[in-house]
Chain length 222, copies 2
């Protein structure tokens, strides 16, 4: 197994992140690389969902993963061991990534040949929602055990996301999770949200999510 | 039901939060009010755990809760409806509380007659760990569905916490959670950590946690 590449990101000094993010989005558009910013609270199953998507992506699109963490490289190693090109980004304590940090990661990754790159953001429902990374698509995961009230408590995340993946639906019988209440709270903040129900453990719903993502990637790179 | 008191916190302008936190800690010591800063990721069960403790606290200590949220007042209403004195603090988008914001909350709450005040921090494993609130005790919750790797990924939280409550242990049969691996990662960062295993839903382990907290409150206020 190849040694995991770990990049220590430098804190950005740019003042206008929105402008920088717009610039990065255009650069990626020209390179036909679709960047998806994957956000969630800690332990919602970001890495497990990416690994579950693998068998549906293989031979259909070329893809890779940038794993952002404060410390450790456990996620990037898991992804690499599954045979997906990946790189570990360390934020040095920072609670989110912005466009400049994302660009540092992309430059180190050096994989302009990929159709799709996932940026797995820091597990945090607050700060990552505040910073545009330059991604074409924002995707967030809410796992059933976290509860149906998260869209009410962390509204910005549900405003900036294009896709909501409700994960761990195999545990719906164990937890008190009201899908209707959750959807109502989401659509009140974001009527355009595309919602998928999956279990990254059992694989339920993953094929549909994969099909949708492949179509979106083709649209973005067209 | 009395209307919920909602306080919009102002962002601090103080430069030295550590110094301010030390000052607040001394003030609370003199008033014999023990402040516990309760932190966790989103949906770990902070509010549910506080409500589970209630029957063991009643008639033994006088206590109340300050609920910090970005938006909404669902948690504070739940606590108030259970008959526990509470106040809702709104951070206006901020991802954590510092000592000055905590003092604003305490002043608005105006309950120096209580033995114990919980500050339920924003659901976030990153930023709250970086800011001393002036609390005598830092307590963090990790719920089983979040996974046993959280101490590796969010090390600072496990360094600053005095008490770790592992919640939702009734779901241990459903999730792949290695207690030994988790404890090893915690003790490597914090050999003094006091760990409790509870289910706030079934009540398992809550009596032991309550007994310990009551003893600690007495020590702090002695």
């Amino acid at each position: 197994m190849e040694k995991m590449k770990i990049i220590e990101l430098k804190e950005s000094i740019l003042e206008d992140n929105d402008q920088d993010a717009e610039k990065l989005r255009k650069e990626l558009e020209e390179k036909k690389v679709c960047l998806i910013n994957l956000m969630s609270g800690p332990g919602s199953g970001k890495t497990t969902t990416l690994l579950a998507l693998k068998k549906y992506f293989d031979h259909k699109i070329r893809w890779g993963v940038m794993e952002a963490d404060i410390d450790s490289d456990v996620d990037a190693v898991r992804v690499q061991e599954a045979g997906v090109p990946s790189i570990q980004l360390h934020t040095g304590g920072m609670c989110h990534l912005d466009a400049d940090m994302t660009r540092q990661g992309l430059n180190s990754f050096g994989r302009d040949d990929l159709d799709l790159i996932f940026l797995e953001n820091i597990g945090n429902l607050v700060c990552p929602a505040e910073f545009d990374t330059g991604a074409a698509i924002n995707m967030t995961i809410l796992s059933v055990p976290e509860g149906d009230d998260k869209p009410v408590k962390y509204p910005l995340m549900y405003e900036v996301a294009d896709i909501l993946v409700v994960n761990k639906i195999d545990t719906l019988p164990v937890f008190d999770f009201d899908k209707e209440k959750m959807e109502k709270a989401v659509y009140a903040r974001n009527p355009e949200m595309k919602i998928f129900y999956v279990s990254s453990l059992t694989g339920e719903g993953i094929a549909e999510l994969a099909d949708y993502l492949i179509e979106r990637v083709k649209e973005v790179n067209a």
